[in-house]
């Protein structure tokens, strides 16, 4: 079921020279459509969709998209459900500022580990099982909030709930298996962004639930506990949907395909090795800590900040805090779209510049957010900051799929983990101590963002270049095939295990930007049909 490969001379790469600006779809001349495949959407040689049809639920591509982002959304709702209710919880459990800060750190730390593990799980078992297991096993941890009686219990439960944020990895991985690389920036950005919106939605949802339950007669210290049941149910329902309606790959489920011999089973050690020895992985681990990481930090601290600093009512602070997370609806897909747009004109170099610009702008706005004393200005800078940081997240995952084909799962996982590590670190340094105010913490965090975004200038692809260096002119060294096939040993190549990487290399030629037409085929690359 690998699809019929084009015979020599049939590739229509760059023939028309007229390429669509809006990367909602990939036109046929640019990426060959596999006409033998019977899907709702036009697909490429890997059976990945070339079109992103937002309001369709067609199996498997668009249905996967919706299952994926909604599950991820549910985990964000659960992980940050406590944040807008902290003013009530801190009175019920007699928490100090350090307790609240530590709980925030705990809520994002659990998933550092779980995101790493999830990357491997996706590579080996498939994203469907990974996602379903995680969200259905984290539902009990959410229900545990009804038992919490003191600071240590609170911190422990938030830590356990935080494990569920690893659905991010299954979400991104799942998108990468279903959608062509030309539109992956936009697709990943949209799926993740809409999932991240959960962090904003929860700031609206939980205070409203709390008020309703209070009106129904419960005292505040009981009402917030009851409110936690709703995120718990959301997790269970999404888990059931994912299991019954989802599939791992366009052609079926991973287990079934592995049995048929169509998808090679890979060794975890090898996959890990190629992820860890690629220096680009580590740069993106750091970078993501200062786009996603700071977004998670803000999700935890911003409602309380507005409540205390500007003396707002709980639900009003929640509404303002919600706009931060809800900006993800457009901001993150925007980042993915700008990444794809820049790639169209300037290739991978455009993607890298795009990322640096967005993330640095976010840092500047965070700096100002902590400095201003008036509510309207604070809200303005918060919104600008949210757009910068979230678009940077989208732009990051427009680049990640190109770092490695073999170890995509683990690299996604490591990057995601880096996001959480950055969040835990910034909360620990800037928001868990009484030595300086939350406002100062925000400003310092802004400065740290600007500094930690600079390393993106060191990311260099021989076939495409980097921010300041052009691509290698050497025909062999500067080819996509060389880069992606370098992850396989000769023995593995003999067994044909590298076929998927070759197909990917072919499809990724577009990252050269602009004039793609005359990409010479390197002399010793194995042709697809052998």
């Amino acid at each position: 079921m690998s699809g019929i490969e084009g015979s020599p001379g049939s590739s229509m790469h760059g023939v028309t020279g007229r390429e669509p600006v809006m990367a909602f779809s990939v036109a046929s001349p640019m990426v060959a459509t596999d006409t033998t495949a019977k899907f709702d959407l036009p697909v490429d040689s890997e059976h990945k969709a070339k079109v992103f049809k937002l309001f369709s639920f067609a199996n498997p591509h668009m249905r996967t998209f919706h299952l994926s982002w909604i599950s991820f959304f549910a985990t964000f709702v659960s992980t940050f459900a406590a944040a807008p209710l902290v003013p009530i919880i801190r009175d019920n459990l007699d928490l100090t500022k350090a307790d609240i800060g530590n709980a925030g750190v705990a809520s994002v730390s659990g998933s550092i580990f779980s995101r790493l593990v999830m990357g491997a799980v996706c590579d080996l078992l498939g994203p469907r099982y990974g996602c379903a297991f995680l969200i259905m096993l984290s539902a009990p941890t959410i229900f545990c909030m009804s038992f919490v009686a003191d600071a240590s219990g609170y911190i422990a439960v938030r830590f356990m709930i935080g494990f569920s944020l690893a659905t991010f990895v299954s979400c991104q991985y799942w998108m990468s298996t279903m959608f062509n690389s030309k539109i992956i920036g936009l697709v990943n950005g949209t799926a993740a962004g809409w999932g991240n919106m959960g962090g904003g939605a929860t700031q609206l949802l939980m205070p409203v639930l709390f008020e309703i339950i209070k009106k129904a007669g419960a005292t505040p210290f009981t009402a917030w506990r009851i409110a936690f049941f709703i995120p718990g149910w959301l997790n269970v329902i999404m888990g059931i949907f994912v299991l019954t309606l989802g599939q791992d790959l366009p052609d079926g489920n991973l287990g079934a395909l592995q049995k048929k011999g169509d998808v090679a089973k890979d060794k975890f050690g090898k996959v890990l090795w190629y992820a860890v020895t690629n220096y680009r992985t580590w740069i993106f681990v750091l970078l993501y800590g200062y786009s996603m990481g700071v977004e998670l930090t803000i999700d935890n601290v911003i409602a309380e900040y507005f409540y205390d600093r500007f003396d707002l009512k709980l639900h009003l602070a929640g509404i303002i805090a919600a706009t931060f997370g809800m900006a993800n609806l457009l901001a993150r897909p925007f980042g993915g779209w700008t990444s794809d747009y820049m790639a169209n004109r300037w290739g991978m170099r455009g993607r890298l510049w795009n990322l640096w610009l967005l993330q640095t702008a976010g840092g500047v706005c965070c700096l100002f957010l902590g400095l201003v004393n008036s509510l309207p200005l604070a809200i303005t800078f918060m919104i600008l900051f949210s757009i910068g940081a979230q678009a940077a997240c989208g732009a990051t995952f427009g680049i990640i799929p190109f770092i490695s084909r073999r170890s995509l799962g683990i690299i996604s996982g490591m990057t995601g983990a880096g996001g959480n590590f950055g969040s835990g670190l910034t909360q620990l340094i800037f928001f868990a101590t009484a030595s300086f105010s939350t406002a100062k913490g925000l400003s310092y965090m802004g400065i740290m963002i600007i500094i930690c975004t600079l390393p993106v200038s060191f990311v260099h692809f021989p076939q495409w270049g980097s921010m300041f260096l052009p691509a290698s002119q050497d025909i062999v060294k500067g080819s996509e095939e060389t880069y992606y096939v370098a992850e396989w040993t000769e023995e593995e190549k003999q067994k044909g295990m590298h076929q998927a990487s070759l197909r990917f290399a072919e499809n990724s030629r577009s990252e050269r930007g602009g004039k793609v037409a005359s990409a010479p085929t390197p002399p010793n690359a194995t042709p697809n049909y052998v």
């Binding site: 038992f147 210290f221 008036s374």
Partner: protein
Amino acid sequence: MEVPTGFLVISLLLCFATTGYGVTFTSLQRTLVVTASPTEGQVLKAGDANITVTWGFNRTFPSGTDSDYRTVKVKLCYAPISQKDRSWRKTVDEMKKDKTCQHKIVARPYSASNNTFTSTILRDIPSGTYFVRAYAFNGNDEEVGFGQNTNGKLETNLFVIQAITGRHASLDIASICFSAFSVVALAGFFYMEKSKGKSSK
């Protein structure tokens, strides 16, 4: 994202322009005498114990000092130990920003003597060490005088309130049931798919 400099300058100016003049605590005189029923160090259970407060004009002040007093609000206030590491309960001199006294016991029109009030401690009062303070307000709803059951250093007659946990047996049971459902449903699906996979080979 460039913010136009003109906009930035004007907004920064507006920031600094909004400095308000409010009543400060240090400007108030202790013109009320306040007593509360709890003894020093007594532990009261929220939702259960009663508290009785009495307040009246301090006759050592010249009569006429209270001519503009219209209403009195009696509040539960955090003692310094309950404010430690909790900046949301901070004492600030400007009354509008002060967070020391967040829980109202009663509000009454002002009368110079024989004011008493008894009530149960509400169930949303957090655990902590407290004292009682009464503020007198004028017709413009500004503080014009106060009284408290402790001394100036907030050291004597402090009492402890123990909050409710907010937990209920019914909540605990519901929680366990839903958790069990989630785990069992997952395991069920997993085994069903595995056995279907095996049988279709």
